[in-house]
Symmetry: C2
């Protein structure tokens, strides 16, 4: 599974303070630690940390690039911040995120095409978040079709079925699992599927338990990627074990250590 590390986000106090103090060592340490824990890509989100997000996104990306060449996901709703971040991050980066709204697609698909970037696509359109899996897959199909018109292969799209907290709605987790499974049948190659995992447990007790349990359920339905905390070692254990049981990792006696050794 493609692990996108979520920790470089101005919503976290340590990151917010580092941005405000222009202390790149904190950012670089988070980059190093996430990659060492198994992240394949680093999500970067300025959040509410700066009045100058255009400066901040470039400073974050450049700080990371001094210590890591891991792909970077630029996580913002602002068009100019996205464009600046994607250019700074270089080819192979990830636009996080578009939706199925036409205005978003018109702005972000050309950016992805021009910069050889992948896109996270939330299954939201002008009417909002669909109630069930069918509506989500319909939006995913429209995004895939629009991407292909821009020369973007479906497997550069990461469909995010938009999980909401289980404390607010207990039906959506199943709809999102079905969305993951059904996306496999959309195209050849199919789009990838992704989860913003921690959303499922917002406002609940036992957050880590809920996160890792839902991750395992999603992997069993074919999940390709997640935005998550790779430093949560119990979550990574659950992920490695689920992939072992799905024959995505080769079994060996000490499969947890073997996976981590190969991730370094």
């Amino acid at each position: 599974m493609y692990v996108i590390g979520e920790r470089i986000n101005g919503m976290f106090k340590d990151v917010r303070q580092a941005i405000q103090a222009k202390d790149k060592s904190v950012i670089q340490e988070l980059a190093r630690k996430q990659v060492a824990s198994g992240a394949h890509c680093l999500d970067v989100n300025v959040g509410p940390a700066s009045d100058d997000p255009l400066w901040a996104i470039q400073w974050l990306v450049e700080s990371i690039r001094e210590v890591s060449d891991a792909p970077i996901a630029i996580d913002t709703t602002k068009g100019d911040v996205m464009a600046a971040g994607i250019k700074a991050a270089g080819p192979g980066s990830v636009i996080n995120s578009t939706t199925g709204q036409q205005a978003k697609l018109d702005a972000l698909l050309p950016l992805a095409a021009a910069n050889d970037a992948s896109l996270v696509a939330l299954t939201i359109d002008e009417k909002g978040i669909p109630r069930d899996a069918g509506g989500r897959v319909e939006i995913a199909l429209r995004v895939v079709a629009a991407a292909m018109e821009h020369g973007i292969s479906p497997d550069r799209i990461y469909v995010d079925g938009v999980i909401i907290p289980v404390s607010a709605d207990q039906v959506t987790p199943t709809h999102v699992l079905n969305t993951i499974a059904q996306c496999k049948m959309l195209s050849d190659p199919p789009p990838k599927t992704i989860l913003g995992l921690s959303n499922v447990s917002q406002g609940t007790a036992y957050r880590e338990l809920i996160n890792r349990t839902y991750l395992v359920m999603a992997l069993a339905h074919g999940l390709d990627a997640a935005i998550m905390d790779p430093m949560d070692s119990e979550m990574m254990d659950a992920m490695i074990t689920a992939e072992l049981l799905l024959n995505r990792n080769v079994y060996c006696a000490d499969f947890l250590k073997a996976y981590r050794a190969s991730a370094q």
Copy 2:
């Protein structure tokens, strides 16, 4: 999920010694503890503990019945031991197990019908264990059809897709998950599905982690029951959380405690 507690089995040293010493307090304590931990049914297997399994099965069942009226699953390959155990356990007990072999069905379906028992049906026939899910479901269908001829409703059959250790074969776990999902489409009502969970981790490191990860994956595919250790609290946490995410338990702030309180 229907939890069948696996601990009263002569393969375990404490049970073997209790049978040999005719010390029913050990058996009764295991019965009480498993039920208190969330078991809905108690599996009973003499195993290699006694030269007189016909006596032993009846002694085990009678010892349990003094402290619990939970349904009992009689776990043996011997026809006379099964018949004696089922009669001692009373209506609503579970025959563990039949296979799809005609001789087994001819012996065990009448016993189930006469004693209002359910049956665990391993997807094994005269040719052995099928390679994939399709072969497993085919056997399940034959068992369901044969059961109906004896007046046994499909939902009294627990189809066990026969998991084997992931250390020996990494393809089977996926076939068994697909078997669970496909069994839902076999009949109306469909047969139930069950796993002998600990088999998946035999001979591996991190057994509990593998067991609970596979349980969550199977629940996400619709698993109805498992033969497992209900005193493994991390496994029970994973199960409760998966059922919460599948909307099988109602969410509340302290859902782990709430589930356990309602199980008492």
